[in-house]
Symmetry: C2
Subunit: 121 residues, 2 copies
């Protein structure tokens, strides 16, 4: 059955979500994931995750067969699609296609927070 | 290939999105849909739509086999899940399960805007 998960204001955190911290490495820095709608909620085909990137941090530089559907919830940064960087800020929408090389970076002086829907929790 | 769609601030509108206006009837009132990520963007399995509900308006009272994964972007209202109404506001997350009866209503004095991911554009 369905459920409501309240945001734990004033933070970007939510009730009953699973937190995943990524360690820093050559390709990822200062990022965490919260699974807002995952398998435990009853979702099976696509999942809503919230990623928080610290100022100056970045998501993994990667490509894979599944797409990403992204909504920027917080802050400002840049998104790599293929070989082109695009500026993004709160409210913008990003589609990342099948096998498209991609990465998201927060601005040096600001957080970047985004929802990312994918066929992976 | 992927793409960025900028939000057309200060409105809740976006570049290159398809607008669908619903007419008012016994079961739906004061609501419109913007397809933020649809088939034209390359999406095939799940789609990101933004619904804007005017103060006092409501989405369709319905149930169906596909799920909804919802993020409240704007305002305040109530969500029906099965036979129970829940208060929601900006930042909250809602999962609507398979065949679950549901409806979203804006507060009488405030807009309700939400992202809804579904296997329908």
């Amino acid at each position: 059955m369905g459920a409501v998960k309240k945001q734990l204001k004033p933070d970007y955190d939510w009730e009953n979500c699973t937190l995943v911290e990524y360690g820093d490495s050559d390709t990822v820095k200062g990022i965490s994931k919260r699974i807002l709608i995952g398998e435990e909620d009853g979702a099976t085909d696509f999942f809503v995750r919230y990623f928080n990137v610290q100022p100056g941090g970045n998501s993994v530089y990667e490509h894979h067969p599944w797409v990403h559907e992204v909504f920027i919830l917080r802050g400002r940064g840049t998104v790599l699609l293929g070989d082109t960087w695009h500026d993004v800020e709160e409210g913008d929408v990003v589609f990342i296609g099948t096998d498209e090389q991609h990465q998201l970076k927060a601005a040096p002086d600001e957080y970047l927070g985004f929802l990312c829907v994918a066929a992976r929790p």
